[in-house]
């Protein structure tokens, strides 16, 4: 005989226990430490910090471990923690012009003041398996540079300043106010397509899923909304975080954070302005050039309305981009269909049965009704 | 000034008491014109009545702009808002998320406050009035209230000036835009959301 199903509590406990066991993996393999993750899986950690909007490598490493390497799950863990943190104030805007730069390239100039600094990059590696990393054979490390921090250059001029005052490149748009709206404290207000909405758009893009942003950026390059970007400058390095506590009234350096910044330039495709170059901007935590470049392309695409360009691609539609790029939102909603829906399913079943019955009554060709 | 510096009005237990005060406000607005009791903070906030201090401690912070009626607009009260709530004081009633008036006589014109926008009627000012009495006897206003939150209708008594009714009618007619009001006094709060319809009523007339 059927009885009302009970046992949800026990099932959940059992599922959690099983998850813990699987997370640990084989017991004869040493357990990962969060230090190992933070230092050897740094790019994972950087991505998690960016999409979670929280700079803290040690906690991000913890979330990567806890999520068994599922980075979207890790982002979610870190965001849920961030939500509970009290706020002590806002920092001054970070000054990326005085970044301690470890890598800086410009694709628009052969050479430029300060020079091209290739730094570390996958770009020119041949993607051949390095079996020494699998413990097959001795892994040898290249010698360290002379001075520990000697690879960083401070006070590099910005590449796009080289265009000078010729007016070829649009000026950096004036900020409408000193304080940027905080997306995590005020809801996004649509249409969000004006120049004054750019800070909140950038904030949304910085938090957006890297894969989504990459696809959006790619779509504009293939013709769904015309952005033909050049990398004006891509720089990565360390910036000082400065806060001015209200009770002290003078600035204090709280520490340094690593960031990747991208300035793209692209030709203006509308008719409202004389021919010129326009800007797109990307800025993310840690080392993540794919995200920074995608962000700057999509930022530029989203300025279509402001610049009176034809809006032809999804990447130019702020509502479409801003509402669908958050992987915590998207992943939750897409997967929520795993939850029981049998009440609604039952409602659908009975409706479809009713509609079919009504159709059958109406149509004489169907012959006599069954009872 | 000293009373505030030494013993400013605040919750002894902020988490618990602001939750209780919020539930009083939620109930008051859900069941309009039915005064409910609310917890009050210890200490002083200058000329700010304790019921209004309770609302401020519960609802206001750095994300809210506050307008003060002239009798409340003192350095003492401003300081209290700044330090106990973190709220900024604005001189423009239309910019305020919350407007505070110490007594019914000090109420700003409802039309001077923000009613929100057609797409965003929530961007409106909430007016909080102190010094209100809800006694049946000797009060200037007796009205029949109806609308969401009220089963059929009910009688409501308070010491608001008579001209309030005409102003309220105009506010109510603007629905869904409009100002919501909390009437406070005697350790109680009564809610008057924009959805409530008020009709002047002689006491003798029975209401249902």
């Amino acid at each position: 005989m059927y009885v009302a199903v009970k046992g949800g509590e026990k099932a959940i406990d059992a599922a959690h226990a099983q998850l813990r066991r699987e997370r640990r993996g084989r017991l004869d393999v040493p357990e990962l430490t969060t230090e190992q993750i933070a230092s050897q899986l740094k790019l994972s950690v950087d991505r998690v910090m960016t999409e979670a909007s929280l700079y803290c490598p040690s906690l991000a490493a913890l979330t990567v471990k806890q999520a068994m390497g599922d980075l979207q799950e890790a982002v979610f863990l870190l965001r849920a923690y961030r939500t509970t943190l009290p706020r002590f104030g806002s920092s001054e805007p970070v000054d990326t012009s005085s970044m301690r730069v470890s890598r800086r390239i410009s694709a628009t100039w052969k050479d430029l003041p300060g020079g091209q600094i290739l730094g570390s990059t996958f770009d020119y590696t041949h993607r051949l398996l390095d079996r020494s990393l699998a413990g097959e054979g001795e892994s040898t490390l290249p010698p360290a540079p002379d001075k520990g921090e000697g690879i960083c250059v401070k006070g590099l001029p910005r590449a796009m300043s080289a265009l000078g005052t010729e007016g070829l490149l649009e000026a950096v748009p004036e900020a409408s106010s000193d304080t940027a709206a905080d997306l995590t404290r005020r809801p996004l207000v649509l249409p969000a397509d004006g120049p004054e909405d750019r800070p909140v758009r950038l904030q949304t893009l910085a938090r957006a899923d890297e894969g989504f942003l990459l696809g959006m950026a790619y779509s504009t390059q293939r013709g769904f909304g015309a952005v033909h970007p050049f990398t004006g400058e891509l720089r990565r390095g360390f910036v000082e975080l400065v806060i001015t506590p209200e009770e002290l009234d003078f600035p204090i350096v709280a520490g340094e954070i690593e960031m990747t910044e991208c300035d793209t330039v692209s030709r203006y495709t509308g008719t409202a302005m004389p021919p010129c170059l326009t800007r797109g901007y990307g800025l993310v935590f840690g080392n993540n050039e794919r995200k920074a470049i995608s962000m700057s392309i999509v930022d530029r695409a989203l300025r279509a309305k402001e610049l009176k360009e034809p809006e032809t691609g999804p990447a130019q539609n702020p509502e479409f981009v801003l509402l669908h790029g958050d992987n915590v939102d998207a992943s939750g909603f897409v997967q929520h269909i795993k939850l029981p829906h049998y009440v609604d399913f039952q409602a659908e079943l009975s409706l479809i049965r009713e509609l079919r019955a009504a159709k059958q009554e109406d149509s004489p060709a169907r012959g006599e009704r069954s009872c | 000034m000293n009373s505030i510096t030494s013993n400013p009005a605040r919750w002894e237990n902020p988490v618990r008491q602001s939750q209780q005060a919020f539930r009083s406000l939620l109930q008051a607005l859900s069941r309009p014109c039915m005064p409910v009791s609310m917890p009050l903070p210890e200490g002083g906030a200058g000329s700010l009545p304790p019921e209004l201090a309770a609302i401020a401690l519960t609802m206001c912070d750095q994300d809210t702009a506050v307008w003060l009626s002239p009798s409340l607009d003192t350095e003492e009260v401003r300081r209290w808002f700044r330090f106990q709530c973190g709220a900024s004081v604005t001189s423009s009633p239309a910019m305020a998320d919350f407007a505070f008036a110490a007594r019914p006589e000090d109420m700003p014109l409802l039309s001077d406050l923000s009613r929100g926008e057609p797409e965003y009627p929530d961007r409106s000012t909430t007016l909080c009035v102190g010094g209100v009495s809800f006694d049946r006897e000797g009060n200037s206003l007796s009205v029949l209230a109806s609308g969401p939150g009220i089963s059929t209708s009910l009688m409501f008594y308070c010491n608001l000036p008579e001209e309030f009714l005409g102003r309220w009618e105009e506010n109510h007619q603007a629905f869904p835009q409009g100002v919501d009001v909390f009437l406070c006094g005697q350790s109680m709060v009564a809610g008057l959301p924009r959805s409530t319809c008020l009709k002047a009523q002689k006491e003798e007339t029975s209401c249902m």
Binding site: L54, R82, T184, R185, G332, V343 | F175
Partner: protein
């Protein structure tokens, strides 16, 4: 996008902290204030969707984070909480949410509708009539009733502002033309207080009439979409229809196979793969009460 990282310090507060390191009901006080401000607006403008800065919660969006944030902003130590999903207290997500509040607030929880002061629900309204002392919190996946007809939020907001609901009438008319009936079985739109068209959340249309003039306060939270809305007690809630095609609730030919109830919402339970099935109450508490009243023994698995 920057937050200074520091463990939560809460100055000198000697609170009962059921879950170490977290505030009562998980949310910090400024988040609660923000949600509470939104809830007051929602109550003042019945059926209107108030935007709020929804937070990440420790469970996924789409799994009840809107309802959870509402409950967390409303709940106090004296409350008694009931959580249901599909009408049942024992579905996994209901268990998970109930546990979350038990551990972050320490409040008493119950499975009995009549004992609860706050009921958080997904997809059902309890069969037991609600009272003035109760608050019903709905988890809402898609708060915009016009969304399937108009995908843009910018447009639907304008339509609500202008009270321009022709689209919805057209949709209902087309249903009738095509199917001879209004083909909406759940999340059936309602008009609140004669003004806003509102999504009742994906409850079966069987439950819609329970919203009308309900003595309890009804609060709705959509976490991912970041919207709050409300129906105050004793408010008119009308399911949309046409005069000649009036709104109707679902009904079943047979009673609940467990308790014999004839006027409850029934789940269809498949018994084998040849189509044999039975129907049982979706509201597990109402069903158990019914059985107890008839002297039937409570059966449960271990």
């Amino acid at each position: 996008m920057l937050t200074l990282q520091q463990d939560s310090l809460r100055s000198g507060e000697k609170e009962k902290m059921p879950l170490e390191g977290y505030n009562f009901a998980y949310l910090d006080e400024s988040t609660k204030r923000m949600i509470r401000r939104g809830l007051l607006k929602a109550v003042a403008v019945p059926g209107y969707q108030v935007p709020f800065a929804g937070r990440e919660m420790p469970m996924p969006c789409g799994w009840g984070t809107g309802g959870i944030q509402v409950t967390a902003s409303v709940i106090g130590e004296e409350d008694v909480l009931k959580v249901i999903d599909q009408g049942s207290d024992d579905t996994t997500n209901a268990v998970s949410i109930r546990r979350f509040f038990a551990s972050t607030t320490g409040v008493k929880t119950t499975t009995h509708t009549a004992e609860a002061t706050i009921i958080q629900t997904r997809h059902r309204i309890p069969e037991h009539p609600l009272t003035e002392q109760q608050i019903l919190v709905y988890q809402v996946p898609l708060p915009e009733p016009l969304r399937w007809l108009e995908p843009s939020e910018k447009e639907t907001r304008t339509l609500h502002a202008l009270e321009e609901y022709g689209l919805m009438n057209v949709k209902i008319y087309e249903d009738i033309m095509r199917h001879g009936a209004i083909a909406m079985s759940f999340d059936y739109p309602v008009r609140v207080n004669g003004r806003y068209i509102m999504s009742p959340s994906p409850i079966p249309r069987f439950d819609n009439p329970k919203m009308h003039q309900c003595p309890a306060l009804q609060l709705f939270g959509a976490g991912r979409e970041k919207r709050l809305y409300a129906i105050p007690p004793y408010t008119d809630v009308k399911s949309l229809d046409f005069e000649d095609y009036p709104f109707e609730v679902q009904h079943w030919d047979e009673p609940c196979a467990l308790c014999g109830a004839r006027h409850t919402y029934l789940d269809e339970v498949v018994l084998d793969d040849t189509g044999k099935r039975m129907f049982v109450c979706s509201d597990s508490d109402a069903c158990a009460e019914n059985r107890a009243r008839q002297g039937m023994t409570e059966v449960s698995h271990d």
